[in-house]
């Protein structure tokens, strides 16, 4: 059987000034796989995600997406990003648009979908993330959990082939974390290829196929969920786990 590498990162390096933030990082993600990335603050998790959709150009190494080397796609970066959804820690809903308009914007302005069709798409997606009733609310009228679910719907509206989540629940009150993770887990279960930076080990246990552990810019461990939670992990990863679990 040929393993389909949907996303393949080969030895990427990235420095900000004299600080090397990514050190020869390599990883592969198969189609429909959900990979959870964990690691201490400053270990380079966000930079890794941002280099995948070319928000952060890498210094060296290669990134293959759906079989193509995208690493040096400068001019066509926006076309690649149309296929990759991203969800941020601080939601970043467009403040001047209502929930439904947030979801409609990209299909209309980027793909040229008519406003009626975009509205249908948006309403469907808001239903999927469980907040159809908030369609006309503005971001500042929504709770954090609701905003994040709208942000997920906004990303899904472009029909992405890959979803990147950067600590999607870190800015949320505990009671709202669940509603967001449920939506993400459901998407993963439906086969949405996803890379999730999170410290929610409950989510990792439930939805992840693989766990990647990063420290000081290096990928220290990349284990299947079973291996990882079965205890056969690297000492440093184990110590980090003990820290965040206790």
């Amino acid at each position: 059987m040929v393993v389909e590498h949907f996303l393949e990162i080969v030895g990427i390096n990235k420095s900000f000034g004299s600080v090397q933030v990514l050190k020869t990082c390599s990883m592969t993600v198969a189609a429909k796989e959900t990979v959870v990335v964990i690691g201490p603050s400053g270990s380079g998790k966000s930079t890794l995600l941002r280099s995948i959709n070319l928000l952060e150009p890498v210094d060296s190494g290669d990134i293959f997406f759906a079989g193509e080397n995208i690493t040096r796609e400068r001019k066509k970066a926006h076309l690649l990003r149309q296929q990759i959804g991203m969800v941020f820690q601080n939601f970043e809903l467009f403040a001047h648009l209502s929930a439904v308009e947030n979801v409609m914007l990209a299909p209309m302005k980027i793909l040229g979908v008519s406003s009626a069709d975009a509205h249908d798409i948006a309403v469907d997606l808001l239903r999927k993330v469980q907040i159809p009733e908030k369609a006309d609310a503005f971001p500042d009228e929504l709770s954090g959990g609701q905003q994040q679910r709208v942000a997920i719907a906004r990303a899904l509206a472009m029909r992405p082939k890959l979803m990147l989540y950067d600590e999607p629940t870190s800015a949320l009150d505990p009671e709202m974390i669940r509603e967001v993770l449920d939506v993400m887990a459901e998407l993963s279960a439906e086969g949405m290829t996803s890379i999730v930076v999170t410290h929610e080990m409950g989510f990792a246990r439930r939805a992840a196929d693989r766990i990647v552990f990063m420290e000081q810019g290096e990928i220290i461990e990349s284990a299947s969920s079973d291996q990882f939670f079965g205890g056969t992990v690297n000492d440093r990863a184990r110590r980090f786990l003990d820290q965040i679990l206790h």
């Binding site: 990003r81 991203m86 503005f138 990303a155």
Partner: protein, 241 residues
């Protein structure tokens, strides 16, 4: 004072022309001022070294000298370089160049007020840089810069009186000429004052209208409520806000 004479001045063709000229000066200078300001703000945003130097020099020059000086300078010095422009064009040129310096600061602060994360979110969806500016940054910045631009508009109306020194037939010059011909300063200046107040009031009203149109919440709530209900004030959702 003779109220009849004030009314007579108000409807006289010279006053109407003067007020029209003041309005034209204000609107055109403001328009070009915004354009110059926008170019300067974008140059500053781009953060290139020459851009920074050019904009710094511009702001230094035009904010560091009186507008009256700029008006007189342009009117009297350009002809000696062989550039012959009408008094009106000189007036608009001076007022726009000066306004541009202030507009640049206003527009730049508006653009900067839109947080970096909003831009990143636009790019991450797959927008090009210009789509991101157009659909994400500018609509949000517009709301921020509108109140200060409204103030500039009213300021410009008052500033336009300065160009009477280069014999542009605007409201103040007309009033002054009429007054000294008829020796009726009180009436002539009252008529001019009424025009000025009427125009500033109209500008303020316009500002409120545009602010409402740009406020997405107000706009949406207006749209959802039929016009008749809005006017009769019978709708609940309208009463809430």
């Amino acid at each position: 004072m003779s109220i009849e004479l004030v009314l007579h001045y108000l409807v006289s063709s010279s006053f109407i022309h003067g007020a029209g000229m003041t309005l034209l000066l204000t609107v055109t200078s403001l328009f070009f001022g915004v354009m110059i300001g926008l170019v300067l703000a974008l140059i500053q945003e781009s953060r290139t070294r020459t851009g920074q130097v050019v904009t710094f020099f511009y702001l230094w020059l035009f904010r560091g000298t009186p507008v009256l000086f700029q008006v007189i300078f342009i009117y009297n010095v350009l002809p000696s370089f062989g550039i012959k422009l009408s008094a009106f064009v000189c007036a608009v040129l001076a007022l726009s160049l000066n306004e541009g310096a202030y507009m640049a600061e206003i527009l730049r602060s508006g653009l900067q007020a839109v947080k970096k994360g909003q831009r990143t979110a636009g790019l991450a969806l797959g927008m090009t840089g210009s789509q991101m500016m157009r659909y994400v940054v500018v609509p949000q910045a517009a709301r921020i810069v509108l109140p200060p631009i409204g103030n500039q508009m009213i300021g410009m109306l008052k500033l336009s009186a300065l160009v009477s020194v280069i014999a542009v037939e605007e409201l103040l010059l007309v009033a002054n000429q009429t007054a000294s011909a008829d020796f009726r300063y009180f009436e002539a200046l009252t008529a001019a004052g009424i025009y000025y107040l009427a125009m500033t009031t109209a500008f303020m009203g316009l500002q409120i209208l545009i602010e409402t149109a740009l406020d997405p919440k107000k706009r949406q709530r207006m749209r959802r409520v039929p016009l008749t209900e809005r006017m009769l004030g019978t709708s609940k959702s309208f009463a809430v806000r």
